[in-house]
């Protein structure tokens, strides 16, 4: 077999290991899907009536707000999965098994690739659960089959980028506790963007930040695909952000994994 097919085989082996971990301890997957569902219910039923009225749409109120907030909640799912990834990578790095992998003639990237692919599958499942609950509580997207496929593509792209970043975050920290705190800002970003309220309702400084941070074009792209609102240049910005974050995360993670483990 060639080097490439060994790399693929090793990555598949590592992915199987990741999936086995998930099956054996489903609580992590449930937790990752659970938090955004709680957020969704909280925002729709507690704040939804008032926030929806402020949107000034035709129907107004709660029904309008479900449609507005769902893309943001989906991104919360990705962000909370990123936190889970950082934790599981940090935990894995403290285990002897990683030291063993390092002394074996295997593709080094496969250890990380296994984590990324495993997390992507886990996150896609969580997002499906979140979208399912959103549909139950009144989310009525206008998307056709093409838009849905595009939506899945965008979500996969975002997940891929944030997962590589969180793999690096999981490795750069010295402890599991730190690894669980480091990706926290990712959870806040949908709030400090157009995830929950339109950015023009924010004070000037915050609005500037909200309009230029990566989550806003991603949310606007998703909203456009699902609800038919104008996308503009958001799609291009979203792709550029994701490509950049993925590249930085990948190179950073690889460099971190390559260095000698500290005694």
């Amino acid at each position: 077999m060639s080097t490439l097919s060994y790399t693929l085989a090793d990555s598949a082996t590592m992915l199987r290991r990741q999936l086995r971990h998930m099956l054996r301890y489903p609580s992590m997957t449930l937790l990752l899907a659970g938090m955004p569902v709680v957020f969704l219910l909280l925002f729709v039923y507690v704040f939804g009536g008032t926030l929806g009225a402020g949107l000034g749409g035709l129907s107004g109120g709660r029904a309008e707000y479900v449609n507005y907030v769902t893309p943001g909640i989906i991104l919360i799912t990705v962000a909370s999965a990123a936190q889970g990834t950082a934790i599981s990578v940090a935990m894995d790095m403290t285990e002897g098994i990683i030291a063993r992998f390092r002394t074996m003639a295997i593709s080094r990237a496969s250890v990380l690739t296994g984590h990324v692919l495993g997390t992507m599958i886990q996150t896609m499942i969580s997002m499906a659960v979140v979208i399912g609950v959103a549909l139950l509580v009144g989310f009525r997207p206008t998307a056709g089959p093409v838009e849905w496929i595009a939506t899945i593509g965008v979500l996969a792209m975002v997940t891929f980028a944030l997962t590589w970043l969180s793999v690096a975050l999981g490795m750069v920290t010295k402890s599991v506790e730190a690894a669980s705190n480091l990706p926290m800002p990712l959870l806040l970003l949908p709030f400090l963007g157009s995830g929950f309220v339109p950015t023009d309702s924010m004070p000037a400084g915050l609005r500037w930040f909200a309009e230029y941070q990566p989550f806003t074009p991603i949310i606007e792209t998703l909203r456009g695909l699902l609800m038919g609102s104008p996308i503009g240049n958001s799609a291009v910005l979203a792709i550029a952000w994701c490509a950049g974050i993925a590249l930085v995360g990948y190179l950073w993670a690889k460099a971190l994994f390559k260095r000698d483990p500290t005694p």
Binding site: M1, Y6, A9, R16, R20, I97, T103, P263
Partner: protein, 317 residues
């Protein structure tokens, strides 16, 4: 038979972390198919050597060859020839024993059937069949260590590194582990073992190197090392000071302790020396309360070489 080759050679191996020198020029030569024990107190640098030889970390200086390859230039060639069992338990706790072994087989690209077969063989050989389908997290210390070693053997390594393989094991598990190690070498594998137990090195190793503060202070077979320290002696205890005094006049004592009422006489541990001494005592009508023969062990060598004999100095003074 071809001439025995070296499985591991290092020359002037150096490693520091900042100002802290961990290895200060270590020369090793391990012949193929033998057990080599690296003996040393905690913090001597044993694990660092294993980490460097097993490609986990890089060396700062010196030349090294593991299975004929330089870990710095061609780490994958070294990795393909070695199996490592660390003092860290390198098992996946969430997977079962069997899954752990199959994981290793997959990473060695053995193919599904061959991988299963080898996993089954190893489970049997290491007495883990009953626990095969339980998560490794539920294993006892001894079982975990056996699984750890079994995982290192899936790829049929030529050289096996065992970093303190029996630390923290109960005496029975330790003996099981020793037997496993002996069987390995009988199969032609080279074993590089680190240990802080002298008995373990004595029992298993063809050659022993004593490491202290990052340098080798002695190297040889267990017997060669034991010969390095004099110290075989017979100790006699007397009922009172006058007996001690008369015995001291009659015998060629090398040591005397008036408080303890004891005399130390040189001895090679042989029966004839002992008999001659007893005849002498009879002839001089000296009554001895207690007699003990002290044979030098690796303990004496270890204490003498590593200079951690603070208690003894105290006693002499």
């Amino acid at each position: 038979m071809t001439r025995p080759q070296s499985a591991i050679v290092t020359s002037g191996l150096r490693k520091s972390y900042g100002d802290h020198v961990v290895l200060d020029g270590v020369d090793l030569d391990v012949a193929e198919g033998t057990i080599f024990a690296l003996l040393g107190p905690n913090g001597a640098g044993k694990t660092t050597i294993v980490h460097i030889l097993s490609t986990l970390i890089g060396a700062d200086g010196g030349t090294l060859r593991v299975a004929g390859h330089d870990p710095a230039d061609d780490p994958d060639a070294v990795r393909a020839a070695i199996g490592v069992t660390g003092q860290f338990s390198a098992v996946d706790n969430l997977l079962t024993g069997e899954e752990n072994l199959v994981l290793m087989a997959d990473l060695h690209h053995l193919g599904r059937r061959e991988g299963r077969r080898r996993a089954r063989d190893l489970l049997e050989r290491f007495d883990l069949v009953e626990a095969a389908r339980k998560p490794a997290a539920t294993y006892s210390g001894g079982m975990r260590r056996r699984l750890d070693l079994a995982m290192g053997l899936v790829g049929d390594p030529r050289i096996v590194f065992l970093d303190e393989p029996t630390t923290g094991l109960d005496p029975r598990s330790r003996r099981t582990m020793w037997q496993i190690i002996r069987d390995l070498v009988a199969g032609g594998v080279t074993v590089f073992l680190t240990t802080q137990y002298l008995e373990e090195a004595d029992q298993l190793a063809d050659r022993i190197a004593v490491l202290d503060h990052g340098t080798l202070v002695a190297e040889g077979t267990a017997d060669e090392l034991k010969r390095l320290v004099p110290g075989g002696h017979i100790s006699l205890r007397f009922a009172d000071a006058s007996e001690l005094e008369s015995a001291a006049h009659a015998l060629d004592a090398v040591g005397r302790d008036d408080d303890e009422l004891t005399l130390q006489l040189p001895s090679d541990g042989g029966v004839s020396t002992l008999r001659a001494l007893l005849d002498r005592l009879d002839a001089e009508s000296i009554t001895v309360d207690e007699l003990s023969v002290h044979i030098p062990g690796l303990d004496d060598v270890f204490l003498a070489l590593t200079g951690h004999s603070d208690n003894e100095k105290e006693a002499v003074r």
